[in-house]
């Protein structure tokens, strides 16, 4: 079985590039095929890349605080474009300011994201969740028995 493809990128006018480079490295190391669109990615670019590469998930980063404005409508556009049931993950510093995460999570879940991560979530958390959500064993590139327990997204403020 081919490793599942992920589309990765930093949405909107956001240029925070460091975390994006590390996510690419970590997801690749974990056995995924990563299509990294880098920073300043529009919703349309995410969706086109996902369609083109037949991706299983879109991993959106937003660090700069405009995540709420930038992410609205992404799920709807996916539906329109015929990939309505693709996994949507989002993480980073999603809103402006230091706020309780519960509310942030609700906002983004309501927008149609499957998983929403608080600031500083290590890539490993998302990797575990992907394996679970995609029904994979530990090395998705090494053949795909279902494994692992599905865990809830980490609590607010969890750090490596």
């Amino acid at each position: 079985m081919n490793p599942p493809t992920l589309v990765l990128g930093v949405i909107g006018m956001d240029v925070h590039a460091v975390g994006n480079k590390i996510l690419e490295y970590s997801f690749t190391n974990a056995g995924f095929k990563v299509v990294n669109l880098g920073v300043m990615v529009t919703q349309e670019e995410f969706i086109h890349a996902a369609i083109e590469t037949n991706a299983k998930a879109i991993i959106v980063s937003s660090l700069y605080g405009h995540g709420e404005l930038d992410c609205r409508g992404l799920r709807e556009k996916c539906v329109e474009m015929g990939i309505g049931d693709i996994l949507l993950y989002v993480g980073g510093n999603l809103v402006v300011g230091k706020t309780g995460f519960a509310e942030v999570e609700k906002t983004f879940k309501n927008m149609g994201f499957d998983r929403v991560y608080p600031p500083g979530t290590p890539p490993e958390t998302a990797i575990d969740d992907l394996r679970c959500d995609l029904g994979l064993n530990n090395r998705p590139d090494k053949g795909g028995e279902t494994g692992g327990n599905c865990k809830k997204p980490a609590a607010f403020g969890t750090r490596v």
């Binding site: 006018m13 490295y25 880098g38 809103v95 402006v96 300011g97 230091k98 750090r159």
Partner: protein, 484 residues
């Protein structure tokens, strides 16, 4: 390759561009240059940035300045007043939101509307262009300190026009430092041209008797940038600015966390900038320095963040920087509240004051570190000017294309991205991969030896993983990313 010359814009060139720029958004039409000059002239001395900087230079003091920007006028006023009084700031900022930075004024407008609707700021800064001169003057008039625009805008021409006409007396940025770390697709030739306009505008203000402080953005990507790289950029941007008539420049540097390297960096930065400006005929420019407290990932814990902030203040004090840009205990999470912002300022102030009468000895190690920085920066600059056949602007474009200038982790397509940094065994930032940087063999050996010492200590290869560990290190409570 597209190119650009380091040449003062003629009046005609400037006016042609100006016409276009002021039409980019309705508020551009508020700009009336003569009125703006009169307005600037009417400002009391205590609100003039260069006055504060020059006094600090004279007295050998270090000033403190926060970052702060929020969507709406009234909120911005409240925030700045709080930082002035409770935060005891010496200098104030207005940080501009990320839509404005990419000239997306429509999105900024949405951000303003939504912020009004929800009662909280949905923008990460203050959209100066959208608010326009009349409203922005409300902000600058509400405070009693010099106030600067801080942003990250590759094309800041309209922003500069509106900001300077609104009573800001300092303007951050430059054609390299506000392109390479801050955007993806804008060519360097373009952003340098945009900033020649901003610098020329500044020059015209200067010629009209209005001193405006200009500050190249020192930290670049804020993440393990070796000092010689950011120094090279700072020197070039200073030269480009001076050519357009800028007279007051603050060159910046982002803390590495290695005290000796930081002191060496600030001290060589002032020296190099002054040297090159003089050599190239701009000896009349006043140079000061800016020290940025740690610009990489912060610890989530606020007490730990205070430690990082205070350590930054120590380095600022010992290095003798003219001002320090202050972080906050909320850094790892989001744009800080006024309280968190003031807290960062107060911790910094306390540290600076306690260190005021103390100094760091000019030791052998410090001298060596300075020599390394000087030699590296000069090697790079020499190649830049060679590539430009005597022209700093053209040379810069060529140098980035060739990887002779190459900023780690930068998002720009116009940056080669081959250079990789890593810390040595004492925490100083060295080159893991020097890419195409024109460094001498001695220098390369120096870096290699330093890294070999770390590899030995950690019993592992120098490599990519080490760099990743270093990226995370400060946020995880260390300086050097040791293996677990």
């Amino acid at each position: 390759m597209e190119t650009v010359k380091n040449q003062r814009l003629s009046e005609q060139e400037f006016e042609t561009i100006r016409h276009e720029v002021l039409n980019q958004w309705p508020t551009g039409r508020e700009v009336d240059f003569q009125e703006a000059v009169e307005y600037q002239k009417s400002l009391p001395k205590k609100k003039v940035f260069t006055e504060a900087i020059n006094r600090a230079l004279q007295r050998g003091e270090t000033l403190i300045q926060p970052r702060a920007g929020t969507a709406l006028v009234e909120e911005q006023i409240k925030l700045l007043k709080y930082l002035e009084t409770e935060g005891e700031a010496d200098l104030l900022p207005t940080t501009v939101d990320s839509y404005t930075r990419q000239n997306r004024y429509k999105e900024a407008e949405t951000g303003i509307e939504e912020s009004k609707k929800t009662g909280r700021s949905l923008l990460n800064g203050f959209p100066i262009v959208n608010h326009g001169i009349k409203n922005t003057r409300k902000v600058t008039e509400a405070v009693n300190l010099p106030i600067q625009v801080r942003h990250g805008t590759p094309d800041a021409r309209l922003l500069a026009e509106i900001a300077l006409a609104s009573g800001f007396t300092a303007f951050e940025g430059g054609g390299i430092s506000y392109n390479i770390p801050y955007t993806k697709n804008i060519s360097l030739a373009d952003s340098i041209r945009y900033w020649q306009y901003v610098d020329r505008l500044t020059g015209i203000y200067e010629e009209n008797g209005i001193a405006i402080n200009r500050e190249p953005f020192g930290p670049l990507t804020g993440t393990l940038v070796p000092p010689s790289l950011s120094h090279a950029v700072a020197v070039i941007e200073s030269l480009l600015a001076a050519e357009q008539g800028v007279k007051n420049i603050s060159v910046g540097y982002g803390q590495s966390g290695c005290l000796i390297q930081d002191i060496a960096a600030v001290q060589t930065l002032a020296q190099l900038t002054q040297e090159y400006l003089t050599e190239y005929g701009y000896g009349d420019v006043t140079v000061s320095t800016v020290f940025h407290q740690w610009m990489g990932g912060f610890p989530a814990d606020e007490a730990k963040a205070f430690a990082v902030i205070s350590w930054g203040a120590v380095a600022a004090a010992f290095s003798g920087a003219t001002k320090v840009i202050v972080k906050t205990p909320h850094e790892a999470f989001g744009v800080p509240t006024g309280e968190a912002n003031a807290a960062g300022l107060k911790a910094t102030r306390q540290t600076l004051n306690m260190l005021r009468e103390q100094s760091f000895p000019q030791s052998k190690e410090l001298k060596e570190e300075k020599e390394v920085i000087l030699e590296e920066t000069k090697s790079i600059l020499e190649r830049v000017i060679t590539l430009g056949r005597g022209d700093w602007a053209a040379g810069t474009v060529a140098a980035f294309a060739a990887g002779v200038l190459d900023i780690p982790f930068a998002p720009s397509r116009f940056n080669r991205g081959k250079v990789m940094p890593v810390r040595d065994n004492n925490g100083a930032v060295r080159f893991l991969d020097p890419g195409n940087l024109p460094l001498s063999r001695d220098i390369l050996d120096f870096h290699r030896e330093k890294l070999a010492a770390r590899a030995k200590e950690e019993k592992r290869e120098v490599g990519f993983q080490m760099m990743i560990d270093d990226i995370y290190a400060v946020s995880k409570g260390m300086l050097v990313g040791r293996p677990r």
